[in-house]
Amino acid sequence: MSDPFPTNGLDDTVHQRHRLGILTIAAETETVEVSYLREALELTPGNLSRHLAVLEEADLIELERGYHGRRPKTWVRITAQGRHALEAELDALRELLRRRA
């Protein structure tokens, strides 16, 4: 039997450029602040909240709300499931690239 086509490994929750970007940045840190994500991904606050809600709903990230002085801050932490999903997505993309070559 031939190998399953690599697009089968793509998860619709993760396979979205900005959500993939959020997971990629979060995987590089212990926690990342929402304002860093907004600037790095050039997203509006509303759009970013929507993507964060989708990822949180899928248990791929956790949100920690707190204060720095008087300023409210929200930190994003990638979960073990999120790391696994990110790795699976990147593996599927690499496999797609390899097959196209």
Binding site: H15, R17, G21, T24, T29, E30, V32, E33, L90
Partner: protein
């Protein structure tokens, strides 16, 4: 903006875009210049302890007769006890201050680096530096000939490192190696490997030279501190000058 999955986006383009994001995040998060300069300065401040007085020749006192908590200073130096107390405070302060630095910088940049393993390496390394000479001396002198003979290669080498007041260097090296992994920084790994190589080379030189009493000058033990301190300071300064502003 679309919420839809990008099934038609070229995988190569997506992968390149994620690799670029990863690279930029790492660069923004890197803050290791501070611990490099901090430990370099702490080592430079220890230089007076490695300087012998002109008239002293050879070891003073018996091995291991100083206070246990000052064991980081070793036995071979004139100021071993002072050096031991200095390193006990300097190592713990160095790891705690750099932990505070990472916390402060994480709040400022919005990118927190996981530092628990770094602090753990520092505390465990410092404790090991205090306790290891006792264990090594026990293995060498208080076990039967078979055990001490089989382990003498390792115990004598490590005791040599500890007795020259260079075990704190190994604690710093381990801490920086852990930090290089946490920061995912090849540059920090290279600096740490150079530092470790200098520590090993200095110890190898002392170990293989088989000095007789009187062979060493009052400046000889400075070799234990000057080259490693210079490597940390040069590495830290280079990292500071080439860093991305937060």
């Amino acid at each position: 903006m679309s919420d839809k999955p990008h099934h038609d986006a070229a995988p190569g383009e997506l992968l390149a875009s994620m690799a670029d994001l990863r690279r930029r995040t790492r660069a923004a998060r890197h803050a290791y210049w501070f611990p490099l300069i901090l430990f370099g300065l702490l080592m430079a401040a220890a230089l007076p302890f490695y300087l012998e007085s002109a008239e002293r020749v050879g070891m003073v006192g018996l091995p291991g007769d100083g206070p246990l908590l000052a064991a980081l200073g070793g036995d071979f130096l004139e100021h071993s006890t002072g050096l031991g107390w200095y390193w006990l405070v300097a190592l713990l302060a160095g790891f705690l201050i750099s932990l505070g630095w990472y916390r402060w910088r994480g709040e400022r940049t919005g990118l927190r680096t996981p530092t628990r393993a770094y602090l753990r390496a520092g505390v465990i390394g410092t404790l090991a530096g205090v306790l290891l000479p006792v264990v090594l001396r026990f293995l060498l002198f208080n076990t039967d000939a078979g055990v001490s003979g089989a382990t003498s290669g390792v115990t004598i080498s490590l005791l040599g490192v500890a007795n020259r007041g260079m075990f704190p260097h190994l604690v710093i090296a381990v801490g920086l190696l852990v930090l290089a992994r946490l920061e995912r920084s090849r540059a920090l790994l290279v600096v740490t490997l150079c530092f470790t190589a200098a520590v090993v080379a200095v110890n190898g030189w002392f170990h293989l030279s088989e000095f007789e009493p009187g062979d060493l000058s009052r400046w000889s033990f400075l070799l234990a501190a000057v080259p490693p301190a210079v490597i940390l300071l040069v590495g830290g300064t280079a990292a500071l000058l080439t860093r991305r502003p937060a």
